[in-house]
Amino acid sequence: MTICLLAVCFACSAVLATVYAVTLKPIQAAAAEKTVSAIRAVVPSFRGEPVKGSIRYDGKNIGYYALEVTDSTRAYAIESQVTSGFNGVLSIMVGITPEGTISGTSALVCSETPGLGAKCTEEAFYRQFVGFDPSRKVLKVRKDGGDVDAITAATITSRAYCDALTQAIDVFHIINRGGQDNE
């Protein structure tokens, strides 16, 4: 009985190990491809390879990519994650220019309601953030006194989206300050 179960488990592990070895490279390639295309979607022009980094913010680790625009200036693509979405986690890649303006946003993980909150992945919604300057406009939905057009019937998602962007901008300023401290 034991031997039989052992044999079954052994055979299955062997199969899994083989498939894992074969698919490991394509899986990593697909993940990398996804990251690069997500960065390209939010920061249209940069030179060279994205440099990965991460920073502690509000008790969690926020990942970001530093992107060289000119020799002395860096744009950032920040993976901002909030848990205040309607269905929990909402993760957004936020592109920020060296001047601190948002150059684009794209949802990486979105489990919002299809047809309602999930509209945050549609251009009609995220288009408004291209060129959004947080020093002149308020990153809140209009209902809360801000300058962001919320998705109809999905205020919670829209608020979470704004939270994620606000967080990304905070992180951007921390990175910039940190950079100056080191010099």
Binding site: M1, C4, L5, V8, V15, A30, K34, T113, G115
Partner: protein, 193 residues
């Protein structure tokens, strides 16, 4: 039972969704569009055929007492294989189905066929049984997804048919129950004598 009827019974007489009412969790959750339903059906089909074959091959050597754990290990292996392959070669599909792929392990259709059919029948018959049941499941999910997509977002297989917004409720969970109920009525009206 001849080979052909082993294959066809899964499509109509023992259709897993509309007749046996098995695997309701992925049925209701993944059929928000025709394509999602179809991908889920095909994923289950893949696991069903392979696990049915493997189980029918090892069944004579597995003692009764450890039957279920052994079958679950075999099924879980094929599901994980499927997960790896989807992540590697169809990442977009994997993103939409995500959570529901690992859940195929506990889909009662798969274990049900292993217990009820594969453990007592030869390898070829089991493969045909898996193929039939799997296709039955795929077709049901595609139809269910198609109807929900048509009513909910006025499109079919991702193509917009009529401009404008559909009836949102059909994309959400309550719509799944309603459509499933009506489709079962229609299906049983046509095929049940």
């Amino acid at each position: 039972m001849n080979k052909f009827s082993i294959f066809t019974k899964g499509l109509i007489k023992e259709n897993p969704t509309f007749v046996l009412l098995l695997g309701m969790c992925p049925t209701l959750a993944t059929t928000t569009s025709a394509l999602n339903g179809m991908s889920m059906g095909l994923a289950t089909l893949f696991v069903l055929v392979l696990s049915n074959m493997a189980i029918s091959a090892v069944a004579p050597y597995v003692p009764d007492k450890v039957r279920i754990p052994a079958y679950i290990v075999v099924i879980a292996t094929f599901v994980t294989v499927l997960e790896f392959m989807m992540k590697a070669f169809t990442p977009a599909v994997y993103d939409t189905l995500g959570l529901f792929i690992p859940l195929i392990v506990v889909n009662c259709i798969v274990l049900g066929r292993a217990e009820a059919f594969a453990s007592k029948n030869p390898v070829l018959d089991s493969a045909l049984d898996g193929l039939g049941i799997g296709l039955g499941f795929t077709l049901s999910l595609t139809v269910l997804g198609l109807v929900r997509e048509l009513l909910g977002s006025l499109s079919a297989f991702g193509l917009k048919i009529i401009p404008g917004d559909g009836i949102l409720a059909f994309v959400l969970a309550p719509g799944a129950f309603i459509i499933l109920g009506y489709l079962m009525v229609v299906f049983n009206k046509i095929f049940k004598k």
